[in-house]
């Protein structure tokens, strides 16, 4: 196949499918509830027993407590990703807090916090 045609097909295909998915509402972030956060953590870490869940007000991030320690669960598109809160840094961010993991496959997440919850989450992260 001529290279020009291949490039047009690949570029047009990716662009068209992206537009179609976005316009049909497939870009929405997962919203968690305390119950779904527990079950999602259990999916990622089946050996753990969740003892407490703290959700952000927007429902996109949850701080998870287990007997083994503290972890973070966050919406990743329509799905979730979980990491224990070990070997990480956190920084203030205009919209809340930025967590940076030292993990090339999960570099970090911005936790969006409103004014009411910002102080509480800072405390949670300082003690994690």
């Amino acid at each position: 196949m001529p290279l020009e045609i291949l490039l047009v097909l690949v570029g047009g295909g990716i662009g068209g499918i992206t537009l179609l998915l976005h316009l049909t509402g497939k870009s929405r972030q997962r919203v968690l509830t305390p119950g779904s956060a527990r079950s999602e953590w259990a999916r990622h870490a089946p050996d753990d027993t969740v003892t407490d869940v703290t959700l952000t007000h927007d429902g996109h991030v949850a701080l998870i407590r287990t007997p083994a320690g503290v972890g973070l669960l966050w919406a990743f598109g329509a799905d979730t990703v979980a990491r224990p809160l070990q070997d990480f840094d956190w920084l203030d961010h205009p919209r809340g807090v930025r967590i940076q993991f030292h993990d090339f496959g999960a570099p970090g997440v911005v936790i969006r916090l409103d004014d009411l919850e910002r102080k509480h989450w800072r405390h949670l992260l300082e003690t994690a």
Binding site: M1, L6, L9, V10, G13, I14, G16, I17, T18, L20, L21, H22, T24, K26, S27, R43, H44, P46, D47, W74, F76, G77, A78, D79, V81, A82, R83, F101, D103, F104, G105, A106, P107, V109
Partner: protein, 323 residues
Amino acid sequence: MTDQLTFPDAVQWAVPFFIAAILAEFLWIAIKGRGGRYETRDAVTSLIMGAGNIASGFLLGFIAYGFFMWLWRIAPLDLGTSIPVIVLCFVLDDLRYYWVHRFGHRIRWVWASHVNHHSSQHYNLTTALRQTWTYTFTFMMVVRAPLILLGFHPAMVLFVGGLNLIYQFWIHTEAIGKMPRWFEAVMNTPSHHRAHHGRNARYLDCNYAGVFIIWDKLFGTFVPEQDDDRVDYGLVHNIGTFNPLRVAFHEWVAIWRDATQPGLSLRQRLAYCFAPPGYSHDGSRDGSDAIKAKHLARHPEDHGTPGFERFDKKMPNTQAKNA
């Protein structure tokens, strides 16, 4: 011996079909309200990985092809290009694919290339295109050497390999439940391959087939999809990025970090590169056997069911402790 032989690049010619099939699957899901899920960034990442795979073929394909042509010059046989020879080449290449794929899950160096194909938590036709950019660096092209030395021309070997990949495209879907029984018995199907993409303990390291599922049945790695254990797609430790560069290279970076940490013996460093995924020098990580054993400790009722046959029911706790 024929040096100049050309076959079409089947994968490139299949690109319009890939796009049309993705649109058809998306419409099917939208109309029926079942049969899979799509998410924008996940799908875009998969498509970019597919485009990058083709680009890496343009950039690095000469290495494998040069190796194959060198082998061809020393090959004692030339089987020609008759239809039966092409069919035989296709079947033998599928056996080659089974072993490369199995190595891809059991040798971390090869897993570093293949892992990106499993890094989506979705399972739809775009997932089929989430392909490696770094296959050349695994040196798995050597597994094709016997075919060429047997007298199959390198161009033919690459052509049937392309057909193999095209076959595997359509099985990356939840829109198809089960195929007719005879077909499920012989061929790789959406059901068999869904199980392969599962991160559930039951489905780890199973169903490596490309086209013919008989290889898994022959070599003891077949696990049928279970109605009561819905497949959970993705990695044991799912990645948290849609960045194609991170998707393509994250396991290579992890190998580097593991193998270069201070205080390890040479054997431990090599094990971080070539042992099965999940190896750690201090036992802090779980491989697939340990994950299965821990699952059985939590769910003893699963003893002896598909995917757990190797675990002795009489001593579940021993294996769980070892895990």
